[in-house]
């Protein structure tokens, strides 16, 4: 395996980690707000805040890790994406900043405020929408280099069918992943009313994830036929994804094995995400950067890999400890320990 491939795989794994943890967080924000609007906040908000409070910062680090690593392994991405994404990137930063700090203000501060919950809910949908455009851009056609100057074709992006299909998939997936996880969390907490409500949300958003995935394939075929052809070579990834989806929904629908169900939701997105990633290779930015052309020098690359392995030896046990304390400790989940 080339070192470039190792590098992009590491980054992709972390982006997948962010996809799952952040989806839970983003979706939870939306459900919390929706709960308040419909007068059901007392049912689900305790569950949500018990899970989110200790881990929201960790979620954020997955993202930081991904973009610092991306620029580290592939410095050319800083040049192309950096120049092109100033405005959308800044908007995403502002949304993330509002979300993170307002969560702290609302939850650790003196008292809850409706404004905080509103912003927390809305940013939960806007952030995935804006971040997903980075993946859209990577398909090419939205960034152009003319006479050594990188230009972002914002008009193209906003009028692109493909771009909107990705946004739709991102939002729907966030809500499905989040609801599936919170269903499991509520079942661990033996919180029947919350479980019943969250299970309904999970089922409601299940079919739309598949429909919007299909929509993305259709749009991709129009937008980047080369990439679409490639995805067909890796079709088994997407079939496996669909299969995992069916198992997950089967369990949730039949009210059993919520933990296994969530595991299969994770697998569903794992296969889809990695199938998308592999078929996208070697391109990081279509027609401009590949993992080979944009790669940093050999020495730095090796150092980064070594640092990554050393760091992982530290992080994995720490993450397991975190999960044991707040995810798998039945007493904490039930709210008997705080």
């Amino acid at each position: 395996m080339d070192i470039q491939l190792v590098g992009i795989t590491v980054l992709w794994v972390f982006l997948y980690g962010y996809l799952i943890t952040a989806s839970i967080d983003f979706g939870a924000g939306f459900f919390a707000y929706y709960g308040e609007l419909t007068g059901r906040e007392h049912i689900i908000n305790k569950i949500i805040s018990r899970y989110l409070s200790p881990v929201w910062e960790v979620t954020n680090v997955f993202f930081v890790f991904f973009f610092v690593g991306l620029v580290g392994f592939f410095p050319d991405t800083a040049y192309y994406y950096g120049t092109a994404l100033l405005v959308p990137g800044s908007i995403a930063i502002v949304l993330i900043a509002i979300r993170g700090s307002f969560y702290a203000f609302g939850n650790y501060g003196a008292k809850k405020s409706r404004v905080y919950t509103f912003l927390y809910g809305v940013t939960g949908l806007l952030i995935p929408a804006s971040l997903s455009t980075a993946l859209t851009l990577s398909e090419g056609g939205f960034i152009e280099e003319v006479n050594g100057e990188v230009i972002f074709l914002a008009g193209e992006l906003f009028s692109s069918f493909y771009s909107w299909s990705v946004v739709l998939l991102a939002i729907v997936s966030v809500l499905f992943i989040s609801a599936a996880f919170l269903t499991y969390y509520a079942s661990r907490a033996n919180d029947e009313p919350a479980l019943e409500l969250l299970r309904k949300y999970a089922l409601f958003w299940s079919v739309p994830t598949i429909l919007s995935s299909i929509l993305v394939f259709v749009a991709l075929q129009q937008h980047n036929p080369v990439h679409f052809e490639e995805t067909l070579d890796y079709a088994w990834f997407f079939i496996a994804s669909l299969f995992c989806f069916l198992i997950a929904t089967y369990f949730i629908f039949n009210k059993k094995r919520y933990g296994t169900a969530f595991l299969f939701v994770m697998l569903q997105f794992f296969f889809a995400f990695f199938g998308y990633g592999i078929s996208h290779l070697p391109w990081i930015l279509y027609d401009y950067i590949t993992i080979y052309s944009g790669y940093t020098n050999e020495t730095t690359g090796v150092y980064l890999i070594v640092a990554f392995i050393a760091g992982l030896c530290l992080l994995v046990p720490s993450l397991i400890l975190l999960m044991r304390l707040f995810l798998f400790d039945a007493e904490y989940v039930k709210g008997n320990k705080s």
């Binding site: 409070s53 200790p54 910062e57 960790v58 954020n60 680090v61 993202f63 930081v64 890790f65 973009f67 610092v68 620029v71 580290g72 392994f73 410095p75 050319d76 991405t77 800083a78 040049y79 950096g82 120049t83 100033l86 405005v87 990137g89 800044s90 930063i93 502002v94 993330i96 900043a97 979300r99 993170g100 700090s101 307002f102 969560y103 702290a104 203000f105 650790y108 501060g109 003196a110 008292k111 990188v150 940093t296 020098n297 020495t299 730095t300 150092y303 980064l304 640092a307 990554f308 760091g311 530290l314 992080l315 720490s318 993450l319 400890l321 975190l322 304390l325 904490y332 320990k337 705080s338």
Partner: protein, 447 residues
Amino acid sequence: MDELELDSAMLSRMLTSLTLGFHIIFATLGVGVPLLISLAEFIGIKRNDPYYTLLARRWTRGFVVTVAVGVVTGTAIGLQLSLLWPNFMQLAGQVISLPLFLETFAFFFEAIFLGIYLYTWDRFKKPIYHWIISIPVIIGSTLSAVFISTVNAFMNAPQGFTMVGGVLTDIEPLVAMFNPATPTKVGHVVMSAYLTSAMVLAAITAFSMLKGKRSIYYKKALKLTMTAGFIFAIGTAVIGDFSGKFLAEYQPEKLAAAEWHFETKENADLVVGGFLDRETEEVKYGLVLPNFLSILAHGNPNSEVMGLDQVSEDEIPPLFIHYLFDGMVGIGMFLAALTFFYMIALRTKRFNVENNWLLRLIVLAGPLSVLAIEFGWIFSEVGRQPWILWDILRTGHAATTSDSVGLMFILFLLLYIVLGTLCVTVLRKMFKTNPAENELEEITRTK
């Protein structure tokens, strides 16, 4: 002066300064406050003193809010490096991405254990287990500061590569990371963060005492923070002196600009404050300390100190950094003197350490120490101009070419105003609705 033109490079500098200037307040507290919390918790356990434990708990509650702002603004500056300085990141990223990457690991480590620390106060049978969790938090936050400071050190003293016709070869990431600026930069950043955090917590305590809250709880808080502040002030001063000597050797033009030292000569004098006449290059109304610049630069009153006459006109940093340098050093000395005086008063018991005037000075020391951090960073960054990567890459050539930077500046200015205001409001409300007195009552009752 064409420097003041509002082109995208200038606007990028302004936006970066804005984000860094705001972030650094929270980052500094993020590095230092965990150490003080851990100290308080440890003393509380060892002496079985519930006042110190309460102190640790209350500081933690406030800390969570500042940490959140630190995390989100840190994410902002992390992304802005690529968004505003794409050419710099493309070039320097080849060499210096290792510590940037390591910094995210340290941050990751800190975030995990901070989450655990916050929500496990009563979960362990032995309180010392909870205290142990604070150690990885301190290690993580301090290492974050260490790694990110090596990146800034590299910008001041780049090495570990060879540049041939705009292409970097012979890259050695570790040599780049451990450049000559690293020891003093890292030491100064970490120690001054500890100092500032101690002084901010001391100032909050003194403020409460001035409002008439004089129970033993506040006395213990003041004693802890001022004692820690004294140690960190001495540490900061010693490392600060080494930083001066580093500048004299590796970035002499930065020192010369900071000291308005125009003519290369031996027995150089140090000028504090004053006004500069740019035509005659004379300083008026400044306090002249004979031979002190030679001592500061090389530790020897007879040594020669390079002046700005050796620097080509277009490589001289802006001369207003003189005031920033003096401000930073002046505040540092004030903090050292204040904490020293407090220690003497505490030991000899001749002087009342809760004298209102002393408390007022301590209240003043809080914001002043934060100001010194700001002065220090602006001095360090502006003093490196016109370079973003010293002697390699000019700032003007590294910035984005986008026309939207000005608009983004306004967007972020608004964001920081909102975050800053809300952060202060939330903190004030939090401690007002649940004053220490409520929790103190519980302690006295259980005792």
